[in-house]
Symmetry: C2
Subunit: 327 residues, 2 copies
């Protein structure tokens, strides 16, 4: 296995420390239990906590900061965070107005966030993200999986909280963003989980996995690699069928790299997807292109479409100051 791994393998803790060192103007660290939180606590507002398995960075730790998360709890690679982390993070950031817990729809994450919820002595509400339209059930999930659309949910709920929305309003915003967000991806290669030291799956030299999950778990089917235009059409057809948008709607387009695909290819996908949406009568008004929700070093990408209205557009445009998103 060729990775940067320390002599004593403590990757998740060491990496969180490295992140916080580089962004100590805005971030601080709790080492035990492990969570990353804002250096300057939010006052008198609903707090937002998320978390999940490591290996998807910058999700979630790279989205802590003004206008987005108050804290993020990284589990071991592809493993849900412990309930103790979630409880400690939520208690730490609660500013008296309650806490929103944003959870990707995987059994391990749901179980541990539910356990945390039962133990948590502060008012809170859960927002579940399940934007992946590829499969209803997979090796990793019951029901639809939460993938790259999580970033859109975290951004918009974070903006609502920053603007003073109540706990109930923040939860409603999160549920609404999740409902009007749909994603699907393809993978060209597998990732290697450090502890496993072996590829998560095998894939032939000319094949791609369509509808892959962000842990490299199977999607819908395999097919030979196609021209980028055809991949974009295939993904958008599934996404738009799910969203059932009427004509002339405005959308946010998120092109997300899984970690091992060059940025030059992601921007090619962005051009092709923007044009393909226009051909389908949808105007892209906002864009996010980058490695925002990764599967370690897996090669591939997903497309995410969020239907916009004035409220969601202004939540997207609101100020955000995190290590990853900043405007």
């Amino acid at each position: 296995m060729k990775k940067f791994i320390g002599r004593v393998d403590n990757l998740v803790h060491d990496s969180a420390q490295g992140l916080v060192l580089a962004h100590q103007d805005m971030l601080a660290l709790s080492v035990d239990p492990l969570f990353v939180h804002r250096r300057h606590p939010k006052q008198g507002r609903v707090a937002i906590v998320s978390g999940g398995g490591s290996g998807h960075e910058p999700l979630h730790v790279g989205y802590v900061g003004t206008g987005m998360l108050d804290a993020a709890c990284p589990g071991q690679v592809f493993t849900a965070p412990h309930p103790d982390q979630i409880v400690a993070a939520a208690r730490h950031v609660d500013a008296g107005q309650g806490v929103i817990l944003i959870v990707k729809n995987y059994p391990g994450d749901r179980l541990n966030f539910d356990m945390a919820s039962e133990m948590l002595p502060v008012e809170h509400a859960i927002v579940l993200v399940d934007d992946d339209v590829a499969v209803d059930h997979s090796t990793h999930a019951t029901g639809r999986r939460g993938i790259a659309g999580t970033v859109i949910v975290e951004k918009m709920v974070g903006a609502a909280a920053e603007a003073g929305a109540s706990l109930t309003q923040c939860q409603a915003i999160g549920q609404r963003v999740n409902a009007c967000t749909a994603s699907m991806g393809v993978a060209f290669s597998s990732c290697v989980v450090p502890d496993a030291a072996a590829k998560t799956f095998e894939i032939g030299p000319g094949e791609m996995e369509i509808g892959v999950g962000i842990h490299g778990e199977p999607g819908r089917y395999r097919r030979n690699v196609m021209p980028a235009e055809d991949i974009v059409s295939l993904l958008l057809d599934s996404i738009l069928k799910d969203l059932s948008l009427t004509a002339a709607r405005e959308v946010l387009l998120h092109v997300n790299g899984f970690g091992g695909t060059a940025q030059i290819e992601l921007h090619l996908l962005n051009k092709l997807a923007t044009l393909a949406l226009a051909e389908r009568g949808l105007q892209v008004k906002r864009w996010l292109v980058g490695n925002n929700t990764t599967s370690l070093e897996m090669a591939g990408a997903s497309l995410t479409v969020t239907a916009l209205d004035d409220e969601l557009t202004s939540l997207w445009d609101a100020q955000v100051v995190t290590p990853t998103l900043r405007w």
Copy 2:
């Protein structure tokens, strides 16, 4: 070859269009000759133009914007931009105070920027970047190569220009930053150049290339993969020997991923390198961690150290609004 490639292969143009679509609030595109430039031209200031082969994104196109580049000229993958692109970009962004051309030290780039310089009817000066301490000559370069330190030079020269420095002052800043910046990297895997459709080099399952260049060209030697602490020591020893820093100096540390290494590993490297510098009596005051100068999807990373003084620190801290750096 598994990559996102359009039916008609026009990757460099299409990708530039995708980038500009996603950032149309700050960027605009010239299609023929191809260059990316600021949507809102700078007035009465020195303009900064850079460029080089594609495949290193976000370098250079992702650094166009307030406080950094005025324009960037992407060549084909790993191929210098044509002199016509450079001349057109420099003429377009010149605001009457002259143009700085920032060039990485590769023969193709130097030749084409020199040809552009001869044709360019506006006042201008060249800043050459050669921060890679690994080798004095390589298959790709005569003299030291320009690698991840280029981003530091572009940021600081851009800040000087934005603050009203003259052409001569901007050139002097650029030369000074280059002189006090040193870099070196290691690769675990090769990249695949789209047109070549084959790996640039072969490397054994347990090996790493130490001192690799950003085109996957050979470095100093190969060795079996070591713990991350030992890789960091090996790189920093060469970097600090080159910089000849006296004790107690303050530095900027840039951990740069080559594209195919997970962000969780880059932040581990950041922690280890920050500690290793402290053990050597150097205090890291500023950090940049990310895939900032890539070699397509090559796995590996480089470390860059810049000796800071008050002037360089304030140039680093100055406002920057580009697709990639933003503060």
